[in-house]
């Protein structure tokens, strides 16, 4: 009997240690996100103060107001007047959304055709696959230098077009690799049957096959868009003003210019930056692994 209860205790102990470990890991991963959100709604005096404000009810949305270009008096209490020279983040968000959407959309159209052609006609096989994979893996800094020079000679720096084209270079391989996986999952009987029904090859693809992978298409679109949303290096080299600078460039410049004096506003910007991911994560989570391993894992 004694041995049994000993084993029971040991088992219970190991289970509770397991959960304790998991709890610590969760804190490690959740704390930074909590801290970002908390900082974004704190008053300036409570940010990195001594003693540290771990949790507070003194909350404000003024950081967000300033972030979006509000020019009036803010941070009430002491009558602090906001940074009226602060540039609104709005145009940068529009640039990010616009450039990401258009570039991804073009890549989707080209990539879907490409991927289907590759699968349907067994085109290129391994060598093509390796080529696409290596295109996807080129470091951004290597792309940015010649792109900068090329767009400079065409007088196209600081335009949406330049960034859209530059992002195509990574978006097309990504979309193609991802969609190859989806098309391979569809048995070739389906387009074959559609052709007997009178569709052409291309028609069968658009009318029959493409609708079948619609959820996958949406997921690939979202993931590719998020990659563009996150991209800093190429955007930073090809743009110079709010005419085409994207959200990451804004954040990088903001922090470098402010040198840590406006943490609340910067954190508010960070919260805005993670919004798309948070909103879309439940939809893409099924496909995320596929996306990050470039289709290697189903």
């Amino acid at each position: 009997m004694a041995t049994i209860s000993y084993w029971k205790i040991r088992k219970k102990l190991s289970v509770s240690i397991k959960y304790l470990l998991l709890f610590l890991v969760l804190i490690f991963f959740l704390f930074p996100v909590y801290w970002l959100i908390l900082t974004s709604v704190k008053y300036p005096g409570d940010i990195n103060s001594n003693p540290i404000v771990w949790i507070t009810t003194r909350l404000t949305v003024d950081n967000f107001k300033l972030l979006f270009g509000y020019k009036g008096a803010v941070w009430g209490e002491k009558g602090y007047v906001g940074r009226s020279y602060m540039q609104s983040i709005a145009p940068f968000l529009i640039n990010s959304i616009g450039i990401g959407t258009i570039s991804t959309l073009i890549a989707m159209i080209l990539g879907a055709n490409f991927a289907y052609g590759i699968v349907r006609f067994n085109f290129g096989r391994q060598n093509l696959y390796t080529w696409l994979l290596s295109l996807r893996m080129i470091p951004p800094v290597v792309i940015s230098i010649p792109m900068f020079l090329i767009f400079n000679t065409f007088r196209m720096l600081n335009t949406w077009t330049s960034l859209i084209i530059a992002y195509l270079l990574t978006n097309i391989p990504f979309v193609t690799l991802m969609l190859i996986g989806f098309f391979k999952d569809i048995p070739s009987d389906i387009p074959d049957a559609a052709r007997i029904d009178g569709y052409t090859q291309v028609g069968a693809f658009y009318k029959v096959v493409l609708p079948l992978i619609l959820p996958g298409l949406v997921a690939v679109f979202i993931i590719s868009f998020l990659f563009n949303w996150n991209e800093l290096l190429i955007a930073a080299t090809l743009t110079t003003s709010d005419a085409s600078q994207t959200f990451p460039v804004f954040t990088a410049n903001f922090v470098q210019v402010e040198r840590g004096t406006a943490w609340g506003i910067a954190a508010a910007g960070g919260v805005v930056g993670i919004l798309p991911v948070v909103l879309l994560s439940s939809y893409i989570q099924k496909y995320m692994l596929r996306g990050l391993s470039m289709g290697a894992i189903r």
């Binding site: 990195n48 230098i145 270079l169």
Partner: protein, 293 residues
């Protein structure tokens, strides 16, 4: 069946050619440009047009201690970060695989991978602040304040921690997927044969998840070599160049100092080195085989 229609006769060409042509132009034009620029001297600040200088850039590169320093930094940071991520990811996956609600962890972790690196940089800059929460916890536990970003060694560790925060989930999820694909019968058979504990892990689990692990490590390592955003935000390469990576150094040479010729040459060097790494991985890891259709 219609076969006379152009959408049927030339279906292959219609589907493949436009993308292929665009992709080839998109990659060839910049590559040729980069190659040409690599053997030129071109200073943005001087206003002179690019001039061919044969292999002068190579001679500069060999003597450029900052380049070699940034190369060492990149390799050091990448290897340590990936190693920590692997160990944490594997342990976490082993713990969680027995729990029914593992989907909960997956959803939380997915978010961290897709957060803009720039925001992670910003966030960790806040956390590493002298009066930030990390030092706050240290003081609560009775330790003294740590200068997270002031000494070269600590700054590297801080950068690695930020990377670990973002990418451990990647390892975790891939390894977990590998673990969950091991059929239960394998474990049952092993149990019948009297194998358990560490032996079970070494001889049953490990060989089964090895392909997932090599894939995760390979992909992660290739990505880690391009580390840029987080460093730009947290340390900007400092202190005294301890966290300067190849990407950051090339970026600064090109766009802060305006030396585009030399920066091109370094970028080209980086491209070649990375191609070698990728090719080796594709060979050894069998990534190609895993992905073939």
């Amino acid at each position: 069946m219609r076969t006379d229609n152009i959408f049927d006769k030339y279906a292959k060409q219609i589907l493949i050619v436009p993308s292929l042509v665009i992709l080839i132009i998109l990659i060839m034009y910049p590559t040729v440009y980069l190659l040409r620029m690599s053997f030129s001297s071109y200073d943005l600040t001087s206003g002179n047009p690019p001039a061919f200088n044969r292999i002068d850039n190579l001679n500069i590169l060999i003597k450029d201690k900052y380049f070699w320093q940034s190369m060492i930094n990149t390799i050091l940071i990448s290897i340590s970060a990936v190693m920590v991520e692997f160990i944490l990811g594997l342990s976490l996956a082993l713990i969680v695989s027995g729990i029914k609600k593992s989907i909960f962890f997956k959803t939380i972790f997915i978010i961290s991978m897709m957060i803009p690196p720039i925001v992670i940089g910003l966030n960790f800059k806040l956390i590493y602040d002298q009066f930030g929460p990390l030092n706050g916890i240290f003081k609560m536990l009775g330790f003294s304040e740590v200068g997270w970003l002031t000494s070269p060694g600590m700054a590297r560790i801080s950068i690695i921690m930020a990377d670990v925060w973002q990418w451990t989930p990647f390892m975790f999820i891939i390894i977990l997927a590998g673990l969950q694909s091991v059929p239960d019968e394998y474990y049952d058979t092993a149990k019948v044969d009297g194998v358990g504990g560490i032996k079970m892990f070494l001889f049953v689990t490990w060989p089964m998840i090895l392909p997932s692990i090599t894939l995760a490590v390979a992909l992660r390592f290739i990505e880690a070599l391009k580390l840029f955003d987080i460093i730009l935000m947290i340390t900007f390469g400092g202190p005294s160049g301890a966290t300067e990576t190849l990407s950051l150094y090339i970026y600064r040479t090109a766009f802060r100092f305006g030396d585009l010729g030399y920066a091109s040459f370094m970028a080209f060097t980086m491209l070649i080195l990375l191609s070698i790494v990728i090719t080796l991985f594709l060979r050894f890891v069998g990534l190609r085989k895993r992905l073939e259709w």
